[in-house]
């Protein structure tokens, strides 16, 4: 069948600059570039190009420019190029369109409509270069009071996990991402004083000794879950949903289940790893409670249990039920959260923005007087330290970053994670591709990111006259909104700028 699809990207090669080194040929896992020795010419098959920019970055003479193709159909406000393209793909294959990464549609990004406060005259701003500035955060259930009896404080705290900065690496499973990328995240979390999340792909045994700054996920496929796995981690997280694909399970194709992945996930080599849409032992809130307490028993009540859901319409009521069911941490993953593979129609149309879900959940838990009983983690497209600081002010205890961590390692959001090919060596199990990601360098880039953002958060806190992150948590008086409707202000609990 003749395809009606036009290439998405245009490849412009400056022949005067090209030195025929063939780096582009070797770097492209999609086989876009080829060299004809007889003609001493390089050719490109634009139809295969995903726009990941690997060849352009690696080209020693900057001879390559890759940009969105400028072909145009007759202008049509209803039928975009993307609609026509997707429709054609389905007409040609009869399948569900897959994609990777997070929702790229222009839903309102509330972070861009919120601005932060700063101190002027009536109280001083604080200079983080001169004064202490504290980002330390403890995750876990807090009791209502500290018991004081017979002149002694009776300390009987439920399990708490300390992070030195409110930025945590989000769930990225080994299997979805390469061993190298996974190891870099693990080590960066350790060095950065924060946590990384295993995702649902288990935790390679040789990477366990000496490493505890890990959130071990227990997802619907239960891949890699055993006692040692749970007890090696600091926090155990029950994954109910993912922001990129609410209501949908996961599917790691058999081609990605290598010997190592098979051992780690505890499934036969080469078989598909299928995570069911629901956890089949959780069909209701009381079932969730049973799993929470089963995990608490298995970990001797020494680890907070987190429950992660995708941000959906009834998030506040669901979150309240989760806290009452025993969850010590509520993790919310919003509309723009990433994925290694999801049906595009789900990614682009299901769920709600994390800003609204966070504000509503924090408010509900406070109204019910149970906000102290669980920490709130939020995920879903955090792009910079400003977004994170605003999230803390809306009520988050800490923020999960997945996409940002991938970008720090090299990802350019080409959205082809589901293909098993990743020219940056991140989202692939192909040893030829994955070995190009140096875990040491990737770790350094991740640690730098955490450090840079933490410094920026301190600057913003100091500007607001605050020297401990906990004094910004849920402090929405430090936020003002620009260009939002009244209902949005009401949900966010934020006043308009100038008001």
């Amino acid at each position: 069948m003749l395809t009606h699809l036009l290439p998405e990207f245009k490849i412009i090669r400056d022949d005067e600059r090209c030195i025929r080194c063939e780096v582009c040929v070797r770097q492209c896992g999609f086989d876009v570039h080829s060299y004809d020795a007889e003609e001493d010419m390089l050719y490109a098959d634009e139809n295969k190009c995903v726009g990941c920019q690997r060849c352009a970055v690696m080209c020693p003479t900057n001879a390559l420019t890759i940009k969105p193709h400028d072909y145009e159909y007759r202008p049509n406000a209803n039928w975009s190029k993307e609609h026509i393209r997707d429709l054609n793909k389905q007409a040609e294959t009869g399948g569900v369109i897959l994609t990777g990464s997070g929702n790229d549609k222009p839903y309102r990004i509330y972070w861009d409509h919120l601005v932060l406060n700063a101190s002027q005259v009536t109280n001083p701003s604080i200079d983080p270069l001169r004064e202490p500035m504290e980002l330390r955060t403890y995750l876990g259930r807090k009791p209502d009071k500290v018991e004081f009896d017979n002149n002694q404080v009776k300390v009987d705290m439920p399990a708490q996990v300390m992070i030195e900065t409110p930025i945590i690496f989000s769930a990225l499973s080994y299997g979805a991402i390469s061993y190298q990328a996974w190891k870099a995240l693990l080590e960066a979390a350790d060095e950065g004083g924060t946590l990384c999340n295993t995702g649902e792909g288990g935790w390679p045994h040789e990477l366990r000794p000496g490493k505890t700054r890990v959130i071990a996920q227990c997802a619907s496929g239960r891949f890699g879950v055993d006692l040692d796995y749970l007890n090696s981690a600091s926090i155990v997280e029950i994954k109910i949903g993912q922001g990129a694909k609410p209501g949908i399970g996961g599917h790691l194709p058999g081609e990605k289940v290598s010997a190592d992945v098979s051992r780690t996930r505890m499934i036969p080599e080469g078989t598909d790893a299928i995570s069911p849409a629901p956890q089949h032992d959780i069909y209701s809130i009381e079932d969730l409670s049973m799993l929470i307490y089963a995990l608490k028993e298995a970990t001797h009540y020494e680890k907070p249990i987190s429950v992660k859901i995708s941000a959906v319409h009834n998030a506040p009521a669901i979150a309240s039920g989760m806290v009452r069911a025993g969850a010590d941490i509520i993790a919310l993953d919003g509309l723009r959260g990433g994925t290694g593979a999801a049906p595009k129609i789900i990614r682009d149309n299901v769920g709600i923005p994390i800003e609204l879900a966070l504000a509503a959940v924090d408010q509900r838990l406070r109204n019910e007087g149970i906000r102290n009983q669980a920490s709130i983690l939020v995920a879903g497209g955090f792009r910079n330290s400003g977004d994170i600081t605003k999230a803390i002010a809306l009520g988050a205890d800490a923020v999960y970053v997945g996409t940002a961590a991938l970008v720090a390692m090299g990802c350019t959001l080409c959205q082809k994670c589901y293909t098993g090919i990743c020219n940056w060596g991140i989202c692939t199990q192909d040893p030829y591709l994955s070995k190009r990601l140096n875990p040491e360098i990737a770790k350094r880039r991740l640690v730098n990111l955490i450090r840079g953002w933490s410094l920026e958060i301190k600057e913003m806190l100091g500007g607001m006259g605050i020297n401990a992150l906990e004094s910004l948590r849920g402090n929405r008086l430090h936020l003002r909104a620009i260009g939002l409707d009244q209902w949005e202000l009401d949900v966010l609990g934020v006043r308009g700028a100038g008001d």
């Binding site: 101190s119 009536t122 109280n123 001083p124 604080i126 004064e131 202490p132 504290e134 330390r136 403890y138 807090k142 009791p143 209502d144 009071k145 500290v146 004081f148 002149n151 404080v153 300390v155 705290m157 708490q160 406070r366 007087g369 906000r371 102290n372 607001m464 006259g465 605050i466 020297n467 401990a468 906990e470 004094s471 910004l472 948590r473 849920g474 402090n475 929405r476 008086l477 430090h478 006043r495």
Partner: protein
């Protein structure tokens, strides 16, 4: 005051911003003295107020009626008084009541309302341990539901006198030279919202607790959220209110000692906690974990008083001034040093407490407790308490 928030916060700001001068003096032996020195001292810090609010709190002033709750209530009109008195008759046994004496000739006070005082017992059916909560509930009702009425104070053997004007003018208006107390605190207010009213002046008080405060805490929203979870609703939009509720929660509801309460409001830095011995580290870590929402961030100095105790506390990086002084049985706390020396020319010792370290004057043991071990003239240099 029926529409308290509109009165207190006419422009509906996120919070009410003000700044202030503070003064407190206490005889650790319980010797009583008039309000003149406190007025002289606070007058010396006029620059710290702007005439839009001033007031004093005095303890030990009603020795003849020590067991009755003394309600100081202000009325902006007769209707408020009628409604309130009907409510008081239902809720309490009123032993004695009278208008609070004042000078009509006093200058520098703006539109004084009628201020009346009632000495009351709770009804016989109220158990002794429930009496304080009962009084709090009735005071909250008056302050939020009854027209044009506000309760200045509601403790035993103490009272708050406050209004719109400089504090020395308010003191003169209420004839405070005629009262004898063993502990006085004073407050000069510099609000930046221009409409002032008598109830909005400080000290802020509930039962016999009074708070005078200088600062603008940047954690206000977080503190307010936390307190609301415990049933405290902030209607005044001021830091002082938040502080008073925080003290009430920690001391009266959660039974923490004053020293630990201070370590919640002005928590030690994590870097300090990390260096503590294990058992202390555990306690302070737990306090910060559980009461993270009560850390008062940003600049503040506060003088908190209740029967038998006066506590001075500043924020942990000392963004607002606090000076302490000792002379014989007297403990002085002040925003500035000069006013202390004005009323006590031969002050034995004065020092600047560390940020976050409480200075506690205690009648019961006749001592001052402080943790930063200043060298005190004529006293044991190594002691961390001084007996009067």
């Amino acid at each position: 005051m029926e529409n308290l928030s509109r009165k207190q916060n006419p422009y509906n700001d996120g919070k009410v911003i003000d700044s202030c001068g503070l003064f407190g003096m206490m005889s650790l032996k319980g010797n009583t003295f008039s309000g003149e020195d406190a007025m002289t001292a606070i007058a010396n810090m006029n620059i710290r107020g702007n005439g839009l609010g001033g007031g004093l709190a005095a303890y030990g002033i009603y020795p003849d009626r020590p067991d009755q709750y003394a309600l100081h209530i202000m009325y902006e009109n007769g209707r408020g008084r009628e409604e309130t008195e009907a409510f008081l008759k239902e809720s309490f046994e009123i032993v004695f009541n009278e208008e609070v004496p004042h000078r009509d000739s006093a200058t520098g006070v703006v539109n004084p309302p009628l201020v009346w005082r009632y000495f009351v017992n709770t009804l016989g059916s109220i158990k002794e341990e429930d009496q304080d909560d009962y009084v709090v509930e009735k005071v909250m009702f008056i302050n939020t539901k009854i027209h044009d009425t506000f309760v200045f104070s509601s403790g035993k053997n103490m009272g708050v006198f406050k209004g719109v004007g400089f504090p020395e003018n308010i003191g003169h208006y209420f004839c405070l030279e005629d009262y004898q107390g063993y502990l006085w605190t004073a407050h000069a207010r510099f609000p930046t919202n221009t409409q002032a009213w008598w109830g909005g002046a400080h000290p802020f008080s509930i039962l016999d607790w009074t708070v005078v405060h200088n600062g603008e805490i940047s954690s206000y929203g977080t503190n307010k959220n936390f307190l609301e979870m415990y049933g405290y609703f902030c209607t005044m939009f001021t830091d002082t209110e938040v502080m008073a509720y925080a003290v009430d929660l920690l001391i009266r509801q959660h039974h923490l000692p004053i020293e630990l309460m201070a370590k919640v409001l002005a928590a030690p830095l994590w870097s300090e906690i990390d260096r503590m011995p294990e058992d202390e580290k555990e306690v302070y870590t737990a306090l910060r974990q559980v009461y993270a929402g009560l850390l008062l961030n940003g600049p503040f100095t506060v003088i908190i008083a209740h029967q038998g105790e006066m506590i001075g506390l500043g924020d942990r990086i000392r963004l607002r001034p606090l000076v302490a002084g000792l002379h014989k049985d007297m403990l002085y706390l002040s925003s500035e040093e000069a006013p202390m020396r004005l009323v006590c020319r031969d002050l034995e010792y004065s020092w600047i407490p560390k940020g976050g370290e409480p200075i506690i004057g205690r009648l019961e043991t006749n001592e001052v407790i402080y943790q930063d071990k200043p060298v005190v003239v004529g006293m044991d240099k190594n002691a961390n308490t001084s007996s009067a």
